[in-house]
Symmetry: C2
Subunit: 248 residues, 2 copies
DNA sequence: AAGTGGTCTAGACCACGTA
DNA sequence: ACGTGGTCTAGACCACTTG
């Protein structure tokens, strides 16, 4: 099998396969939690050897887009599983334990994108956003205040009741809601972290004094192909919790 | 080649090769910046196929312990290169640009490990540490105040003059000093990030008001086999810079 | 037993760097 | 021209899961 005879071209075969599989994922050919075709099957489909498919899948697994299970198959990653549902939550107790918060929604509205958020989301300033506000309680105490914004087009018809239901009844995270209800799959994110002082909004919500130092984490979350989907700013009381980062 | 005939055992061959290469690195068989033997050479030495050596090296490259250069060879990673010397510095300007600081040492002493630092470094409380204090200036302005502590045994005979010389004359980072002078190679780190208020020490050094919110980053840096080597706490003024983290 | 991913091999050829 | 890493193949066998 020569390179020239395969679809996209100008790239190593396994990179081309990677793109083809990614396209399949983005196009919804396979859904989160489902198995993709076996390596042999894909090798036949794309007319390459099993080893080449394997290398492509290897990289997609590294990127957390696929999950292998020996003897069973290769599955589309999901954020709805116990174990993966808090993959993007980097908060630990001071003892280094991971704790799972309870979410309390306190605001649901529409608004216009300011220039900063518009730039981050790759939309025009002034375009309409859905704005969610919530508090995350850890062990019953408020620790995080979130201001979350997405283009309204992505969450057509969303209501605060739907969110409440998903989060409370199904014990789901926001990202699992995006995934199951809106077919938006968050696959990566960037965070910019700063220190700030608690203001009139965050201080009472987090039950801290005005001016208390808070962590301010600005996140942009991406779907396939690094397309920005969600902007959020988290204000975090780090008295009993800390943001954890592993450098390699 | 059967598994049973190769040295460590009970692991996939490529994992065993990985361990053997890691041991070579830790034992100083190959030094930072130098080439390790070619894949074919290692395959002969370990009596496995080139593909197996390749897979082992692949993973070590992913862990930033080796660097491949096509046509030239595979090299031991170093922190002394332009491009890798600030690998562990996660600060960006608000525009997302990376900027390189100038280091100003303001303290050099010996002290005893308190229980917290002792635990992080895996040493006995009360053991002797070298304590370094410095300010990092970005674009001429103080942004970071560092309190850095290591077991004294690791930096035998170090003097403040050596540090000054290394940092000023050779434009080196602290980690490149560890690497070149003390054969300590930092390969990974963990950071715990919190918000704190500027105190009597940090406020004047960073030229901010007492009580200003600062980022407080506690880092433990590791050498091979996750052995902790250095503890540090950084106090960061995030008015014009932010900590950047990429989540996958 | 059959199908899946996981490991390993041997050999081919390409792309890059150096001499 | 030669040696290095980079890609690709075809085929073997192992380990795990399911019927």
């Amino acid at each position: 099998m020569k390179k020239a005879s395969v679809t996209p071209n100008f790239l190593p075969l396994y990179e081309q396969i990677k793109l083809l599989i990614t396209r399949g994922l983005a196009d919804g050919e396979w859904h989160p939690g489902e198995a993709i075709p076996s390596e042999m099957e894909l090798a036949r489909r794309y007319q390459v050897s099993q080893g080449t498919v394997r290398k492509a899948i290897d990289e997609l697994v590294m990127d957390n887009m696929l999950v292998r299970r020996q003897g069973k198959g290769t599955f589309v990653a999901t954020l709805t599983d116990e174990g993966t549902n808090y993959r993007f939550l980097n908060l630990l107790t001071l003892d280094g334990e991971k704790e799972y918060p309870q979410s309390e929604f306190i605001g649901f509205q529409r608004g216009k994108a300011d220039t900063h958020v518009a730039k981050r989301l790759g939309v025009l300033p002034g375009s309409t956003l859905v704005i969610l506000r919530r508090v995350l309680n850890f062990s019953g105490k408020p620790v995080v205040y979130d201001d979350i914004r997405l283009p309204v087009a992505l969450l057509k018809g969303i209501t605060s009741a739907m969110i409440e239901d998903h989060v409370n009844a199904h014990k789901g995270t926001l990202y699992s809601l995006y995934e199951t209800r809106y077919r938006i799959r968050i696959v990566s994110a960037q965070e910019r972290i700063r220190a700030t002082a608690a203001d009139e909004i965050s201080a009472p919500l987090l039950n801290v004094a005005l001016g208390s130092p808070l962590l301010c984490v600005e996140r942009v979350a991406f779907t396939y192909d690094k397309q920005p989907v969600e902007w959020r700013q988290s204000y975090i009381n780090t008295e009993n919790y800390c943001y954890f980062d592993e450098l390699n």
